[in-house]
Symmetry: C2
Subunit: 105 residues, 2 copies
DNA sequence: TTGACATGCAACCGTTTGGTTGCATAATCG
DNA sequence: CGATTATGCAACCAAACGGTTGCATGTCAA
């Protein structure tokens, strides 16, 4: 779970996930192409995404195809985001109350 | 959006959000208490959470009460997670197919 | 006013991060 | 075979991160 959050912390890596979401199974070279970053930098980002299990790579000859794994994102939504969505309106009410200069706490 | 992802990348900060979710409006001292970390470290984490607008602080005399703002988390769920939840089953199918050693790509 | 409590600010420090460059390896093509 | 393509590995580097310590400020209470 922590690895997933950390992996998502970098905009470049989120961009890579977006790209794979648009077109799954891309190679390293394909992913690098429009990214204003060296191939090796992208390699490292992909390694971090793989480490977090957000991306699964499959070698095919001299190419390496990258596939999006949606499970960790789903898990975060379920186990973490969901919790905060529950009390959401209450929290917003708390907040608004305080920000409106409520005298007493 | 980037600030939110970055803020969520640290387990200590997620912990702080969890604590505020359990009990909203806690002071710095209250939040530090069980955290095996110096008060100043917590201050920095809270500053990052405030910067990301995940926490809103209100001074009350010599105390500073911290309130959870659920909006950025909601936004991430809406604008980012949701997208991946859409194609989720398809992506999983793609992945499974490849991992099962599908000959042709 | 004095003391204690709650927080703020700033300097410093080791480690991690995100990136680079250079070279090595492996697979396809002619 | 040799050239080209696709990727891997390693060393290096500046900047950001997460944390510390020391001191300053502001507020409540006796």
């Amino acid at each position: 779970m922590d690895k997933v959050f950390r992996a998502l912390a970098d905009p470049g890596r989120r961009r890579l996930l977006d790209r794979l979401h648009e077109e799954n199974g891309q190679t390293l070279a394909q992913l690098c192409a429009p990214l204003a970053m060296s191939r090796q930098a992208v390699t490292k980002h992909l390694a971090i995404l793989e480490e977090a299990n957000l991306v699964v790579a499959v070698r095919k000859g001299r190419e390496k195809r990258h596939y999006l794994n949606p499970v960790p994102i789903h898990d975060i939504a379920e186990r973490w985001i969901h919790k905060f969505e529950q009390g959401r309106l209450r929290a917003l009410a708390d907040l608004k109350k305080k920000l409106e200069g409520e005298a007493d706490g």
